[in-house]
């Protein structure tokens, strides 16, 4: 069986998991910890097929489906190393951190030589705020594979975080011996030197990080600080500007937003007081000088909806969506509006766009 279009994968995989689970329970008298090497799922899919599908879903960013697929793979072949690591990564992406920890802890106890799984466990432990435990796992990984780039870098990073600066220096330098152009290793080395008060060394390491990765926000930010402490004011100012230019919104965008926001305070106050007509007048005044500013059309559309001006709202919201395709709010409002107008197809389309835009990626501002 080959997996067809991505939209149908989810259902097929669920069926696969159900049948695989059956194999492992009363249906087959199996045990969850017993291998099924070479076994195929009842549907005829092989472990390779399922893993291929899991990886494809993962690459698409569909971590829920990838998780289901990896679980299916493990149902076919428990302890499959690639599936274990893939599933653990999906758990992390899907914020199932404890579940990942539980699975990986059990797995590395049974398979102490699997460096990839141990490295992932260390990453999970960092997510749990358990840095000392992560360091233990990383040392074990290095015992198996002393030249592991990831193990060396991660141990250097964790050692820096836990104030073990000597260890950090050793493993970050080892990382750079293995890969001299590793920007994160140069960066973390720079932070370590800063913590030790070695500002000239910090500047050198951070300059190297920015040379390798000119868009490294943290490296520019810290290079400015290290240079200031080293008394190199020209460099500090230059790096400050580089950081300023690349952090947050673009300067022009920020200035525009600030200007519109400052001018729309009166409208916001009217909205707070349920004075929609007055708010609309205020917003429309702003359009004269900001006729290409998407959020303004969204604000106007919202107020027009409050005033029952549906056709006008439709136009405003469409304009907002056209001007800034990343803005999710107009699509939600349009979806509702189309539904009211009886256009179910358009409503569904807008809702789908809204849902896609609203998906919060892992780690977005810590949510």
């Amino acid at each position: 069986m080959s997996f067809p279009h991505v939209r149908t994968r989810h259902v097929l995989l669920r069926a696969l998991v159900a049948s695989a689970a059956c194999v492992l329970s009363a249906c087959a008298g199996g045990s969850g910890d017993r291998g099924h090497d070479g076994a195929s799922a009842p549907s005829g899919d092989t472990i390779e097929t399922v893993l291929q599908h899991a990886e494809a879903a993962f690459k698409d960013g569909d971590y829920v489906e990838a998780q289901v697929a990896y679980e299916a793979a493990l149902a076919i072949q428990p302890n499959h190393p690639q599936a274990i690591v893939g599933l653990g990564t999906c758990y992390l992406k899907n914020r199932l951190v404890k579940k990942a920890q539980e699975m990986l802890t059990g797995y590395v106890a049974r398979n102490p030589g699997n460096t990839a799984a141990r490295l992932l466990l260390a990453r999970v432990l960092v997510r749990q705020g358990q840095f000392e435990d992560a360091a233990v796992e990383l040392r074990r990984a290095l015992a198996t594979d002393p030249d592991s780039l990831l193990a060396n870098y991660n141990l250097g990073f964790v050692a820096y975080r836990t104030r073990d600066y000597d260890t950090a220096l050793v493993h970050l330098k080892k990382t750079l011996a293995l890969r001299p152009d590793h920007p994160e290793a140069h960066y973390t080395l720079g932070l370590t030197y800063m913590a030790l008060g070695r500002y000239d060394d910090a500047v050198a390491a951070l300059e190297r990080a920015t040379a390798i990765d000119p868009k490294h926000v943290g490296a520019h930010f810290n290079l400015a600080r290290a240079a200031a402490r080293a008394g190199r004011m020209d460099l500090a100012e230059r790096e400050q500007k580089a950081y300023d230019a690349m952090s947050g919104r673009s300067k022009a965008e920020a200035e525009r937003s600030a200007q519109v926001k400052a001018s729309s305070l009166k409208a916001v106050e009217f909205l707070m007081a349920d004075k929609f007509a007055e708010a609309l007048v205020e917003y429309q005044k702003l359009l004269a000088e900001n006729s290409d500013y998407a959020p303004l059309y969204n604000d106007i559309g919202r107020v027009q909806l409050k005033l029952g001006q549906r056709q006008e709202a439709l136009q405003s919201l469409r304009r907002a969506a056209d001007l800034d395709p990343r803005l999710s709010e107009p699509h939600y409002l349009l979806s509702n509006l189309y539904m009211e107008l009886g256009d179910e197809v358009s409503s569904t389309r807008e809702r789908a766009i809204f849902t896609a835009l609203e998906t919060i990626p892992e780690g977005k501002s810590a949510y």
């Binding site: 404890k98 997510r127 943290g218 200031a228 400050q240 952090s247 600030a258 916001v268 939600y332 609203e358």
Partner: protein
């Protein structure tokens, strides 16, 4: 970054030039901090006992949630200590939020409450008599100062919508003077910070505004496919400019935000703290922003401020990324005489500790090396206080925790909605160890903590605290054992030429060979305010060798007194020295 708030090249040059004076002290790394020396200092005998009911506190916060997940529900509310009747005992004001504007009023409606301290460990609800219920507002926070210099504490209450200024009439009642004073604000306000920034002897008012959410701008956030509606991420709304009101001295205030150089229309500000970080005699301003960069405004001494955030390195995480700034406090945790900063953030972000490197060059971000980061990584931290809970002559850290999303457990298996509070003990060498589990049952329970304020409400020489939790009963925690663990002294400062509340006054206490510096300030934490008296733990020292008071002003005016015995409350009046001494419990 925005041009309006970015330091100019000239400013940068000046600030950087200061950084050029990098001394040996600056070149030194942060204080040695190892778990080993932390463990040696860790055994505390102090316990906190929840005495809420016994003390007569029956306040329950209500966010007014209807299930539609209006954004404003998830953040509030604050709590303030004040001495509204001037009897030397701290009274308590809890801010109420719900019901939401435009929603039906429940039959058991309750408002904000003022509790008078009966001086016997209990409080009485005097809200109705005092007239400070804030009945029409959806409350966020509060701030206290004697803005009219008539000798009593006045109260500003921030709301989602028009905020309120209550002038203390001096007879146990207050009058709403908002309109006459011109401090209505009208936006979604969070914190209120009082300070006399222009040193004219009159406290001015800074009001932080959060985002442009209105009840008529409710967005859908969450998972449409699963039908799970959640509170929105702050990215869903735009920020708002904060407001600086200059006290004109005639009962009126003038909005001077732009003229003063404090203008960030996109900032999503929660926490506010005034501090004299450069020790030049006037208060500078630091604000904690949610998902936008925090800001440090240096007071230029001419009624204007310069945004030196980037130069000072206090905008963001160690990696230069804005975080979810909630609460904030300032204090000299390493006893080097310079005010440091702490900012609370969301889960998966550390509470950031910014160490002031003697006013020279950028602050150092030391959250991880100081031990404050890891133990709280999974917690969303709000209220925060630097204070010495065990009287061992260094500042410890207390935080309230709880996630803003009440359905977070549906989307994450390692982050809880209700979370345990955190108490970090300072080992005296710059390292903190989380010791809540040994400091009383309250620290073993989960809560949805928001507002936090500390005070010695029973005047026994150690610091108690209270928490206003989102949608839950408030808790009052009594410190048992703090005054036995170490000696102490508590100072009330009273200005005569400077503002009566003495805001901005720096006090250095020398005892047992150690020097500690504290500043009199109003707002801090999250939407809250601490006891404005200065409490110093003295450890084993039974006397204070010297008290040095630097009254606010560009030209240093210093008064010294001492030695004085430890374990007492002193009132020091500008120009008159010690004018009142009180024993504990009096």
């Amino acid at each position: 970054m925005r041009a309006t708030k970015t330091a100019t090249a000239a400013t940068l040059a000046i600030a950087m030039a200061a950084a050029a004076i990098v001394s040996a002290a600056l070149a030194a790394p942060p204080p040695p901090a190892t778990p080993a020396n932390a463990a040696a200092a860790a055994a505390t005998t102090v316990r906190y006992t929840a005495v809420t009911k016994a003390a007569g506190i029956d306040f329950t916060h209500r966010h007014g949630g209807t299930g539609r997940k209006y954004y404003v529900e998830s953040s509030a509310a604050g709590v303030c200590w004040l001495d509204y009747d001037g009897d030397g005992w701290q009274d308590l004001y809890y801010v109420q939020s719900g019901p939401l504007p435009g929603t039906p009023r429940p039959p058991d409606l309750t408002f904000s409450k003022l509790y008078r301290n009966r001086r016997d460990g209990t409080f009485e609800d005097v809200t109705a008599r005092a007239g400070v219920a804030n009945a029409a507002g959806y409350g966020s926070g509060c701030g206290v100062a004697d803005y009219d210099n008539d000798g009593d504490d006045d109260l500003y209450v921030t709301n989602f919508g028009p905020s309120l200024l209550y002038r203390n009439n001096g007879d146990g009642t207050f009058t709403d003077v908002t309109e006459a004073a011109g401090v209505r604000n009208g936006l979604y306000a969070a914190c209120a910070g009082w300070a006399d920034y222009d040193l004219d002897g009159r406290p001015d008012l800074y009001v932080s505004n959060y985002v442009d959410f209105t009840m008529n701008d409710q967005k859908y956030c969450g998972d449409l496919r699963a039908g799970r509606r959640s509170y929105c991420h702050p990215d869903a709304y735009e920020g708002l400019p904060d407001v600086l009101y200059h006290n004109e001295g005639n009962g009126r205030f003038k909005e001077v935000s732009r003229a003063a150089g404090i203008w960030d229309p996109l900032g999503k500000t929660f926490g506010v703290v005034w501090l004299d970080f450069d020790r030049d005699g006037d208060d500078d301003l630091y604000v904690a922003n949610d998902v936008t960069p925090n800001r440090l405004y240096r007071n230029d001494g001419n009624g204007k401020f310069t945004d030196i955030t980037l130069v000072a390195g206090v905008c963001c995480s160690e990696d230069g990324r804005p975080q979810s700034g909630m609460g904030v406090d300032a204090g000299d945790y390493d006893n080097d005489g310079w005010q440091d900063l702490i900012v609370t953030n969301l889960s998966n972000e550390p509470a950031e500790l910014y160490r002031n490197l003697a006013g020279k060059g950028p602050f150092a971000t030391v959250s991880y090396p100081a031990g404050l980061a890891e133990p709280g990584l999974l917690q969303t931290k709000w209220g925060v206080a630097f204070y010495d809970f065990d009287n061992d002559a260094d500042l410890d850290v207390l935080m309230t925790n709880g996630h803003p999303m009440d359905d977070i457990e549906q989307v994450s298996d390692n982050i809880l909605y209700a979370q345990k509070p955190s108490l970090f003990e300072n080992d005296g060498k710059g390292f903190f160890r989380e010791i809540g589990a040994r400091a009383g049952d309250y620290f073993l329970r989960t809560d949805v903590g928001r507002g936090l304020a500390v005070a010695d409400y029973d005047n026994d020489g150690d610091i108690d605290f209270t928490v206003n939790a989102n949608g839950r009963p408030a808790t009052l925690l009594r410190n048992d054992g703090g005054s036995a663990a170490g000696h102490w002294i508590t100072l009330r400062l009273a200005g005569t030429r400077v503002n009566r509340s003495a805001l901005g006054t720096m006090v250095t206490v020398t005892a047992g060979g150690r020097r500690q510096v504290r500043e009199v300030r109003a707002s801090s934490s999250f939407m809250s305010q601490n006891d404005m008296r200065l409490h110093f733990g003295l450890g084993a020292a039974t006397r204070v060798d010297q008290i040095e008071v630097r009254w606010p002003g560009r030209e240093a005016r210093i008064e010294r007194t001492g030695p004085v015995p430890a374990d007492q409350f002193l009132t020091i009046r500008e120009g008159s020295g010690i004018v009142e001494r009180r024993a504990p419990g009096r």
